[in-house]
């Protein structure tokens, strides 16, 4: 007979207020196999754990159940408790009587009855727990960083500085990301390029970092410590080795296309570098707009290239490389304003998004840093900044706060007023959020030093009025309707997840939240890890962030990756599938449903009625198996079982929970 202990946690009042702890403890004591049941205020505390440990020894428990919070919270804690008391850590089961019971039910009688049922199921499962042992799996000492913005660059540098090889994959022709588009940065107003460019150069020249620009990750297989990624290096049509970046080709190129980097405010050539400080400083041919590729005419760039670097025949290159860890730093997009017609965006050239305004402010931008109205190249006198365009907007935009807009708008006000001290800035806002070091001070400067008029309320409509723009709004503090004659209107457009984030999530086997931002393993305690082991998150791909936050998360992700990469071997989760060869028929349906190619066939020999026979059976590679259990269902006789969740265990749980 098993000797099971049950430990019921009050979780202070969290459980005890809704669940009758004494009744639950008494009921648990009568369950089959239970020899001891006790309770304590905080089971996860030092004292709580030592109570468990002493009960294990005193009552000779050979396994136990903790009825407490979610196993996702403290299962690992109590497994350690078991190990410390000399029990195999897999002889522990958790009954979740907090998140799944006390917190969601109000009636104490019902919650108590349900808690007892949940414990009964956990006891039934625990009775069938077996000792499990982790196996060791080797680690590939190389990291893959996806996304070459400031987050990706920082993560790559940190990992490389720790001595590990890093491959940095960037989809566009240059690393740098959104930060490269910015003029100044808040709250210090240092020049974005001045602080970013050295980092880009450092990444490019770091002996441990390999840059794959104009490249995409197509496929990721494997598992923590042993990922295998397929990377497509798109054909640049320019030889990276030969090109000197002299620029003759793009000077001569006759095709003009809107520049993505300049937010379509300027034109670039079909052969181009996105911006002057691009890394690598090697152009690419945008084959969709190149005359050679669309009409098989031209070829000027090839003719004029002094280095002979232009190569129209270059093909995509597909690489397969192994990695121990992956950092995802794919950044963000800006919300599409199609649904916000009232602002006349797209209809009037003087209505801009903040990012477009940023480009206009930038000395290397389309206007060379001269801030003029796009419509007539005249200096603006009145500029209206509208906050929360698409942010905090459940109906048309995103319900969340984009977090950086309040600060960059203050920055925009200051930069604008620096250029035109006589002009007036108006800012329509819902709330001003300045939580951050020196943020409030920065905002106050915009108001006090630069005299920006902050108007709490919404700007309902922007429409052209002669050669001006008329902004209609409400000042909700005074209740007055406002009409402001503006020369330019700047929309603080919401940040959103990359439109293809769900596809990348699928590729990596990680999850996204409601808004397609990648989900962290725990919002507080594991903010830089994805749910899938070995994959880490940095920057705005996980949610709106400013530069310092992105950089610190990137360093955090890098630190986590370094912890992983610096191990020779990992201990694998022993909750993997196993095959009972005597039951296995060898139909191999399990192979078909395994997402990790963790099952293979093998031939065994056995004696049946004196005859030696060979037959095929399935075999599980414990290093590859991730414990999903899909194979167990595909196996009709139940020859494949998932350790920790065996058919017998789940069946016992069902029987017990239905009582």
């Amino acid at each position: 007979m098993k000797r099971i202990g049950v430990f019921v946690c009050w979780c202070g009042t969290n459980i005890a207020n809704t669940v009758n702890i004494e009744a639950v403890t008494e009921a648990a004591g009568k369950m089959p196999g239970v020899v001891y049941a006790g309770n304590y205020k905080y089971m996860c505390s030092e004292i709580g754990q030592s109570k468990i440990k002493s009960a294990i020894i005193r009552e000779k428990l050979d396994r136990f159940v903790v009825a407490s919070c979610s196993p996702r919270m403290h299962e690992s804690t109590f497994r350690k408790t078991a190990a410390a008391a000399g029990l195999n850590p897999y002889l522990v089961e958790i009954a979740n009587i907090r998140e799944h019971c006390s917190w969601v039910h109000k009636n104490k009688g019902e919650a108590t009855a349900k808690a007892i049922a949940l414990i009964r199921a956990a006891v039934a499962k625990a009775a069938r727990d077996k000792e499990l042992w982790a196996t060791q799996i080797p680690v590939e000492h190389r990291a893959l960083v996806i996304g070459g913005g400031i987050g990706g660059i920082q993560a790559a540098l940190d990992i490389a500085d720790a001595g590990f090889e890093v491959d940095l994959v960037e989809r566009t022709p240059s690393i740098g990301g959104h930060m490269a588009q910015l003029d100044k940065t808040f709250p210090t107003l240092d020049c974005s390029a001045c602080i970013l460019t050295p980092k880009m150069g450092e990444a490019a020249s770091h002996p441990k970092i390999t840059l794959y620009t104009y490249s995409e990750v197509e496929k990721v297989d494997g598992y923590v410590g042993n990922f295998e990624a397929t990377i497509r290096k798109k054909a640049r049509s320019v030889d990276l080795e030969k090109c000197t970046g002299c620029g003759i080709c793009w000077e001569k190129c006759p095709s003009r296309v809107k520049s993505e980097f300049d937010e379509a405010l300027s034109m670039r050539k079909a052969i181009y570098i996105p911006f002057p400080q691009a890394v690598p400083n090697v152009p690419v041919i945008d084959r969709a707009s190149c005359r050679w590729f669309t009409r098989e005419k031209c070829g000027i760039c090839r003719k004029t290239c002094p280095a002979g670097a232009v190569n129209f025949d270059q093909e995509d290159e597909v690489l397969q490389k192994k990695y121990g860890a992956i950092v995802v730093a794919t950044g963000f997009d800006v919300l599409d304003l199609d649904d916000f017609g009232e602002y006349s965006y797209g209809k009037h050239p003087d209505v801009l998004t903040s990012l477009e305004f940023e480009r206009i402010l930038n000395s290397s931008g389309p206007t060379g840093g001269r801030l003029l109205r796009p419509s007539n190249q005249s200096p603006p006198k009145n500029v209206v900044f509208i906050q929360c365009v698409g942010s905090r907007d459940k109906s048309r935009g995103k319900p969340y706060c984009s977090k950086i807009c309040c600060m960059y708008s203050a920055k925009h006000v200051i930069l604008f007023k620096e250029k035109y001290p006589e002009a007036q800035a108006y800012v329509f806002y819902i709330d001003i959020r300045t939580a951050g070091k020196d943020f409030e001070e920065f905002h106050r400067r915009a108001v006090e030093e630069y005299g920006a008029l902050y108007l709490k309320g919404s700007a309902g409509k922007v429409f052209p009025d002669g050669d001006k723009l008329l902004v209609k709004g409400v000042d909700s503090l005074s209740g007055h309707a406002l009409e402001i004659e503006a020369d330019m209107v700047v929309l603080a457009t919401a940040i959103k997840a990359k439109s293809d984030a769900p596809q990348l999530a699928r590729l990596l086997g990680i999850s996204t939240d409601t808004h397609a931002f990648f989900m962290e393993a725990h919002p507080k305690l594991r903010p830089v890890e994805a749910h899938t082991a070995g994959i880490f998150l940095a920057g705005a791909c996980q949610g709106p962030k400013d530069i310092p936050e992105t950089v610190s998360q990137a360093s955090g992700a890098a630190a986590k990756a370094i912890v992983l990469l610096s191990k020779e071997n990992l201990l694998s989760d022993p909750c993997v599938s196993e095959v009972n060869e005597s039951l296995c028929t060898g139909c191999l349906a399990c192979i078909k449903v395994c997402p990790y190619s963790a099952i293979t066939e093998k031939t065994i020999e056995e004696k049946i009625h004196g005859k030696a026979l060979q037959r095929r059976v399935a075999e599980v590679n414990v290093a590859l198996c991730q414990g999903c259990g899909s194979c167990t269902v595909s196996c009709r006789p139940g020859a494949v079982n998932l350790k920790g969740f065996t058919n017998e265990q789940i069946m016992a749980e069902v029987d017990a929970i239905c009582l």
Partner: protein
């Protein structure tokens, strides 16, 4: 049919006497007119006892699971049997190189119950097929009737009368003119929930759990069946409606996407439970939801439950 009978004997004799195979599995005749049963012959001298008649309905290929040949085993496959053979092959239960397959085009076999229902069985000594007709032999003489009137309903809806696989075909291909096989399923689908429940409970209440439906099925080839495993015991042995339902749901579910629709389960059921309709419900749904799939015939397609598409229909909540 007589000609086919001769060719079967010749094929059996030839393959055994040449040493190509060590055993031939065919059919022999019992003392009563409707008794034709599987025969296992190792001596070439005994091959003359093999027959082919309108009652050679037994599927022979599942016997391959019990035999461990050093060389090869020869056996005869009708259209439905060939599908079953392919399913066994796909499940890794037979080795293709260990069998010699003789194909038998078959346009249908006779259901003794239909003969009995017409009263023709009284004093009946033998039934033979001559072209499209059956000849009934009695002490006093003989009578004739159109053969198709006596065929098993599963034969009337057969879509693969000619074997899709074999090493040698022993006859001319027969025309395929199947009746709609989902007629009964559709009829049931159109009935109300309670009518369906009553219908199936009535049928299932007769089940004696003899497991004949499972044992005869070419898609049920597990070394040990989930229903027989004692630890954990999924299927209890009590005569409980819940247990019986569990058995029938699980049996049909385990062959979903694998059932070759040979109809043997229903034919063999001593209590007349229309088991094939359960399998056909799955086939019909699979065809509708995931595209046409004929287990045992569509060898280039993945079994529907072992694959997916990202835009598969959702489970309606």
């Amino acid at each position: 049919m007589k000609q086919l009978s001769e060719r079967i004997k010749e094929a059996a004799f030839g393959s055994l006497s040449s040493g190509q195979v060590e055993m031939v599995i065919g059919w022999q005749k019992g003392p009563l007119w409707w008794q034709s049963f599987p025969a296992f012959i190792t001596d070439p001298g005994e091959t003359a006892s093999l027959i082919w008649d309108p009652f050679s309905v037994s599927n022979l290929n599942k016997y391959l699971l019990n035999e461990v040949p050093k060389k090869k085993i020869a056996l005869f496959l009708k259209g439905c049997d060939a599908l079953g053979f392919n399913q066994l092959l796909r499940d890794g239960r037979v080795e293709r190189e260990k069998v010699l397959l003789f194909g038998i085009p078959c346009d249908g076999l006779v259901d003794p119950a239909r003969v009995e229902a017409t009263g023709l069985s009284k004093g009946l000594l033998q039934v033979k097929k001559e072209r499209e007709e059956l000849v009934f032999y009695y002490k006093e003489g003989q009578r004739k009737a159109p053969a198709r009137d006596f065929y098993y309903s599963k034969c009337l809806s057969c879509r693969y009368p000619n074997p899709v696989t074999c090493d040698e075909m022993l006859g001319e291909a027969v025309p395929c003119q199947p009746l709609e096989r989902f007629a009964n399923v559709s009829k049931l689908e159109a009935a109300s929930l309670e009518e369906r429940f009553t219908y199936w409970s009535r049928h299932f209440s007769r089940c004696i759990r003899c497991f004949a439906c499972r044992n005869v099925c070419p898609a049920c080839s597990c070394r040990e069946c989930i229903f027989d495993i004692a630890e954990p015991r999924w299927l209890g042995k009590a005569k409980e409606s819940g247990e019986t339902l569990f058995y029938h749901i699980t049996r049909a579910y385990h062959v979903a996407g694998r059932c070759v629709d040979c109809g043997e389960c229903a034919r063999i059921c001593p209590l007349g439970i229309p088991l094939a309709e359960l399998n056909r419900k799955f086939i019909k749904d699979i065809n509708e939801l995931y595209g046409e799939y004929d287990a045992g015939a569509d060898l280039d397609k993945e079994a529907p439950l072992l694959t997916f598409k990202s835009d598969d229909p959702d489970v309606s909540a």
